[in-house]
């Protein structure tokens, strides 16, 4: 089903606060959930103060904190010394919990799912980390440059069995995925285009973990790709793919699904204005993301509460919202258990997302993971326990704690009976922190907690 009901002209007009759609804590929290991994009460206050345009401008063009960047890089290199790619999951979980640039990190995660590459096959931690840096470098930048860079990326080419590509036997894997999964989508190319594009990539090799162009194995002959003919050397073939009208349309529709709503799929009419702008702005992803996050559509009922939380949104989101810190190794394992192992996407298509995150089994698993994390001995909330945390927010009574919890964590408010049950849980005898943990565990089982 396509979103024919949404008027594209109305959709992409800038959001203006009004009586019907006021700029309030609820909408600010919605923005910070979608453009990051949730927000603390103080961050929501600051966002309400600034207004949507200023806060989105800050998110899309973050003033990079040099100290944090240096520390993060040194931290990663330290982790890499172990040589175990599994440690990278812990490292990235930690970075997501602490990053001052949540949109940058969330978009990096988007590209990880888009150009899906798994450490299960690549095995080398440093190669995977270098790819992750590449995603972060171009996350809100030039998609064209990112595509050129990923086409020479050792992790990607290793994952797609393209470490050798000889003119006598062109390897079609990367050529196929470049058009089907990375740039155009199905139906926008032919089998012949795949074979011709594969010839363009002959001689592109990985040797000792690095990209190398082997001119002796490159096919310098004439090729015909997507209607363009010529030798198409040195990545010119990638420009041919990127020049296709379907390319910006494909990328924008994926960004809409990631940042706005899972279902129904965005209609061509809805996608087209932003696709045109993406082309006009020379593949600048930050422009399109800014337009989405400041649009009327983003703050409407078509978007609020219309995305299923991914495991990262669910777990990292809850911890960031409550200023939580925890054992990142365990957190990485938990994400893997819930189907979103960082650096370990299931296949080259990445994570399906949306409703695929939810079934009777995963629903129980999601609640169990939340219950385990909030009770983990290494989990702290602003360096204290849950009771101390809510006291700091001036939420001292059970109803006040529940109100604060629901405001911070939910895009869609649950029925009154749910609130009453949560209050009852907190009011039971026993340790108050444990009671709050039990309430959060119970909250994590309700349908409203699964969406954002």
């Amino acid at each position: 089903m396509k979103t024919t009901a949404i008027d594209p002209t109305w959709a992409w007009l800038p959001y203006r606060a009004s009586e019907e759609q006021p700029w309030n804590r609820g909408r600010a929290a919605h923005l910070l959930r979608r453009a990051g991994f949730g927000a603390t009460s103080q961050e929501i206050d600051a966002a309400v103060e600034k207004g949507p345009e200023e806060i989105v401008a800050d998110l899309v063009s973050p003033r990079l904190d040099a100290a944090f960047e240096l520390e993060s890089d040194a931290f990663a290199k330290t982790i890499l010394a172990s040589g175990d790619p599994k440690n990278l999951s812990a490292w990235w979980s930690y970075v997501m919990l602490r990053t001052p640039h949540p949109l940058l990190e969330k978009t990096t995660l988007f590209w990880h799912g888009h150009f899906a590459t798994s450490a299960a096959k690549v095995e080398d931690a440093e190669t995977m980390y270098n790819q992750n840096r590449l995603f972060r470098q171009f996350a809100l930048g030039d998609f064209g440059k990112l595509t050129h860079a990923i086409s020479r990326d050792p992790a990607m080419l290793t994952y797609l069995d393209s470490i050798t590509n000889r003119k006598a036997h062109p390897n079609e894997n990367y050529a196929r995925e470049l058009m089907e999964l990375f740039c155009l989508g199905e139906g926008n190319y032919s089998e012949n285009d795949i074979q011709e594009l594969a010839r363009c990539f002959t001689g592109w090799e990985i040797r000792r973990g690095k990209f190398r162009f082997n001119q002796f194995q490159h096919d310098p002959g004439m090729k015909s790709v997507l209607g363009h003919s010529g030798p198409l050397p040195e990545g010119k073939s990638i420009d041919v793919v990127l020049d296709q009208p379907a390319a910006p349309q494909f990328i924008v529709s994926k960004l809409i699904r990631y940042f706005m709503f899972d279902e129904p799929a965005a209609s061509d009419e809805l996608v087209e204005p932003l696709a045109n702008e993406l082309r006009e702005h020379e593949w600048d992803i930050s422009h399109v993301v800014r337009r989405m996050l400041t649009s009327q559509l983003f703050y409407s009922e078509h978007v609020i509460g219309r995305k299923v939380r991914s495991p990262v949104d669910l777990v990292v989101g809850l911890l960031r919202t409550l200023e939580g810190s925890t054992n990142a190794y365990q957190l990485g394992d938990d994400l893997n258990q819930l189907g979103q192992g960082l650096f370990y996407p299931p296949n080259v298509k990445g994570w399906d997302g949306g409703r695929a995150w939810i079934n009777s089994s995963t629903l129980l698993g999601r609640a169990n993971v939340i219950g385990r994390i909030i009770r983990d001995e290494n989990t702290r909330f602003a360096s204290g326990n849950l009771n101390e945390y809510f006291n700091r927010l001036d939420a001292n009574s059970a109803p006040a704690i529940v109100d604060k919890l629901l405001e911070l964590t939910l895009a869609v408010q649950p029925p009154q009976t749910v609130k009453e049950q949560l209050v009852e849980v907190i009011n039971r005898n026993g340790d108050r922190s444990e009671r709050i943990a039990e309430a959060i565990h119970a909250l994590s089982t309700i349908p409203e907690f699964q969406v954002m």
Binding site: E71, A74, F75, K77, T78, I79, L80, A81, S82, G83, N87, A90, W91, Y94, L97, R98, D124, R208, G209, S325, T326, N327, A328, Y329, N378, T379, R380
Partner: protein
């Protein structure tokens, strides 16, 4: 208020449980039944308290940032407030309370017959113990009242002595004695002993007397375990079964298991002072208790002696021991459980292939004298060797060969084959390659392999492989196999100068704690990063935690573990030497 009173009660129980006492001239052993199978005593708790107050380690611990932070927590402040209440009630500081209540010593015993544990405290005079008991009762009642609970204290009379029950603890005082037990029968037995002075007590038990007579003079604490009774009771069957599933444990302490299967008792002595902590276990031992399978451990006549430990620069650990590895290997079926024996068989197959079809247990290990040394040393990379990002210590084993002229070439060939094999498998996995080299000095020959550094490798951030430059060395009758060429060279030079006389011990291990601290400091960035990930700490918190760990390690100079059998006794000791301030 409830929290304060509960904490106050806890403080008193802590005081009690960590205390000692005074004079009629009976000891706790005179009051405990002869069926007591576990016994421990601290004769002079006051001295322990003084040592605790002035010990350099305590001062060092109190300076740690983590401890300073803990002193500011709500729980600790609550504890301090409760302590102040107790001190006010008793009219003196907690240290003086502890000293007066425990001046005559403190002891605990477990009686096999009643299954009861009894704590006995002997106070300075007949007023101290009842006063403390009254305060305990008062605080327990107040805490229960504040919590809206009923009176938690029950009392009853036994032969004119009032005994109290608070939760599971039964408490009574008589004269200078205060007794706490978990079983009424145990309590009655102690009160009977206090009133009647019975003929049969733990103190009159011949086995206990024998153990007592062999105790070192000035132990800070002393303990006794009636192993015979435990064995007969069918407890800890695995310990006494004779077979293990842990080859390393067997190698280190297997011989002691034979002793435990026959010995009547084991004693433990703890000696504390400002510069040392020494814990010694002792047990009667007879050579004929050692089974044939474990002759590899103490030697056929029980006189196997460890060679003099080798010293190298930056040494972290040195282990020197008598062990007949060939006999142990060949006797694996008698020593280990079936699953481990299967693994020995598999290892035999692989190692025989590596050693050109020779029988590993008989023809390879059989060429080695029944002794070996193991050395671990910090690598400084000062000689220009590549610096890996994670810095591991080097380790080496030193053996004495029976016929070096014959087996030396065999070992050298095997080493070269192994390096070739590692290079082939390494190249298949994109690992760096090892480069072989041979060097000779007057007293030794060294065959080494060093990882080649790739052209574009980042200096100081190399893979973990670069910790290793495997080498073997031949120095006279000594054979060295090492993870690092530098360590092999130093060991070969050292043993090449000639052997020192053997020790009078079966095994000795010495750990240089400052060296451990150095190696942790070498890897500080990794430790901080691991702490951040595993504890969820910020970088500052992780730095503080690791800093505290290093500071704590800096308090100790060395840890030594010795094992020996002589004069009908097997002794194992652990000694910690602290850094002098």
């Amino acid at each position: 208020m409830v929290a304060f009173r509960n904490a106050g009660l806890s403080v008193l129980l802590v005081l009690l449980l960590s205390a000692t006492g005074l004079a009629d001239d009976r000891t706790a052993a005179d009051l405990l039944p002869p069926t007591t199978i576990l016994y421990a005593e601290i004769p002079e708790p006051g001295m322990v308290l003084e040592l605790f107050e002035s010990h350099p380690l305590r001062q060092r611990i109190e300076k740690l940032q983590g401890v300073r932070d803990a002193y500011e927590t709500k729980q600790f402040l609550q504890f301090k407030a409760a302590l102040a209440i107790v001190e006010a009630k008793l009219g003196q500081s907690w240290q003086r309370v502890l000293q007066s209540v425990t001046e005559g010593g403190i002891a605990i015993g477990f009686d096999a017959e009643t299954q009861g544990a009894t704590l006995l405290v002997k106070a300075r005079d007949e007023e101290a113990a009842p006063k403390l008991l009254d305060t305990i009762i008062e605080l327990a009642r107040a805490a229960a009242k504040d919590a809206g609970n009923s009176d938690p204290v029950n009392s009853g009379e036994y032969r004119g002595i009032t005994a109290y029950q608070i939760d599971q603890a039964k408490i009574a005082t008589w004269g200078r004695w205060l007794a706490v037990t978990n079983k009424p029968e145990s309590g009655k037995a102690v009160l009977d002993a206090l009133l009647d002075t019975p003929e049969n007590t733990l103190a009159t038990n011949a086995q206990f007397q024998d153990a007592r007579s062999k105790a070192a003079g000035a132990a800070t604490a002393w303990g006794y375990v009636n192993v015979e009774a435990i064995r007969k009771g069918g407890i800890a069957k695995d310990v006494f079964s004779g077979k293990t599933d842990n080859p390393v444990a067997e190698l280190l302490v297997g011989g002691v298991l034979d002793t435990l299967q026959h010995t009547p008792y084991v004693t433990a002595s703890l000696t504390l002072d400002q510069q040392h902590t020494r814990l010694e276990f002792a047990s009667p031992h007879q050579q004929d208790w050692t089974t044939e399978a474990r002759e590899y451990f103490f030697g056929p006549d029980g006189n196997g002696r460890a060679p003099a430990p080798i010293q190298v620069s930056n040494q972290l650990l040195a282990l020197s021991t008598y062990r007949d590895l060939s006999t142990m290997w060949l006797r694996a079926g008698d020593l280990f459980k079936d699953n481990i024996v299967d693994q020995f068989a598999q290892a035999e197959s692989v190692l025989s292939t590596l050693f050109s079809g020779k029988d590993f247990g008989e023809e390879i290990l059989g060429e080695v004298h029944p002794e070996f040394q193991f050395v671990v040393a910090r690598q400084t990379c000062e000689d220009g060797t590549p610096q890996p990002a994670i810095k591991l210590p080097a380790f080496a084993a030193v053996f004495r060969l029976k016929d070096p002229e014959t087996v030396g070439p065999e070992f050298r060939r095997t080493y070269q084959s192994l390096i070739g094999f590692l290079n082939i498998t390494g190249s298949m996995n994109g690992q760096p390659q090892l480069d072989l080299d041979i060097e000779k000095e007057d007293t030794f020959q060294l065959v080494s392999a060093t990882y080649l550094v790739e052209k574009d490798a980042s200096p100081g951030g190399l893979k973990i492989n670069y910790n290793f430059s495997p080498a073997i060395a031949f120095a006279g009758e000594h054979f060295v196999v090492s993870s690092s060429t530098a360590l092999a060279r130093e060991l070969a030079r050292s043993v090449g100068k000639g052997s020192k006389p053997s020790t009078d011990l079966n095994s000795t291990i010495k750990l240089n704690v400052s060296g451990v601290s150095d190696i942790l400091a070498d890897n500080r960035p990794q430790l901080v990063a691991q702490n951040m990930l595993s504890e969820g700490h910020s970088k500052e918190e992780a730095e503080r935690t690791i800093g505290d760990l290093l500071e704590l390690l800096a308090a100790a100079e060395s840890v030594s573990i010795d094992l020996g059998a002589s004069d009908g006794t097997v002794r194992a000791s652990l000694e910690i030497d602290y850094v002098a301030d």
